[in-house]
Symmetry: C2
Subunit: 151 residues, 2 copies
DNA sequence: TATTGTTATACTCTATAACTATA
DNA sequence: TATAGTTATAGAGTATAACAATA
């Protein structure tokens, strides 16, 4: 007997949360790149810088965990931020294995500048959202992120 | 004068919508892969199959637009679905350039099976969400997706 | 033995550009 | 000239595995 997709599949792709999250994520990623411009920071580099500014002297291993990536993958990101003179790898007395990451004045300024541009562009895109809608969305996304360590 | 990140940066990474979307998207992507298992469909292959099942005889160009990717990138996806005998590329009378994609019985069954597993696993992950929270989240994500063509 | 940072390597996802066969 | 599908190629982003230095 031949199956009829329309009647046997009341739920389709548009009802899959993961799919909607992915597509919406791509939209805001494009907004981010548009905000930063051609020579601007990539999203993941911005995220790393943000955490170094927020947590000065964070180690690479800890930062990788915070970002949800492997520490091997963080090397290139920190290299770029160091090349741009936005942070410095500094040795820590007592444990010569670790590289504490310290933001420079230029790094802090660059982060503030980039963050302001992101906030402005995101607000522009979210012009059709009420303030409470934005807050609700952030709250629900953080609730999903509460399952980050699961698998 | 030395800047103090704590006082000068009231808004941090956690307030960036794009960052929260990306992290939440990764969580649900892992849920998806966990649901499908080792030999299961990748998210993008599942999405393509879903649309072929929903829109039989869709062309590759149209499908690529629906998925938000370039048609060159769709080739490998359709190749995989054809290799698995989940769909067939069929010629269309009147225009020998186009390849209409038609789901097979096995493809429809595989989609139903995969979709059921995704629904179950997503529901499991969203056990701490109320029904209205899930609906609200989907609604807000679709509202963001309304800006898909912007840039 | 275990951990930190690093390198080498590979895989996934996507893009751009050029090709072919049709239109 | 333009379009549909394809190929070749490259670039992000991430992972695994192994290494050197250090603990």
């Amino acid at each position: 007997m031949k199956q009829n997709p329309k009647t046997l599949l009341p739920s389709d792709l548009e009802d899959v949360l993961g799919y909607n999250l992915k597509r919406a994520s791509v939209v805001m990623q494009n907004v981010f790149r548009d905000a930063q411009g051609e020579e601007g920071l990539a999203p993941r580099v911005f995220a790393a810088l943000a955490l170094v500014v927020e947590f000065p002297h964070v180690t690479q291993s800890v930062l990788a965990v915070k970002l949800g990536i492997k520490r091997s993958g963080l090397v290139a990101i920190v290299d770029e931020l160091e090349d741009r003179a936005f942070l410095a790898r500094t040795t820590v007395p007592g444990d010569r294995r670790v590289q504490a990451l310290v933001p420079t004045e230029a790094g802090i300024a660059a982060f503030n500048n980039a963050a302001a541009k992101v906030r402005a562009k995101e607000a522009e895109t979210l012009a059709d959202f009420s303030e409470s809608e934005v807050l609700t969305l952030l709250e629900l996304l953080r609730k999903i992120r509460g399952h980050e360590g699961d698998e």
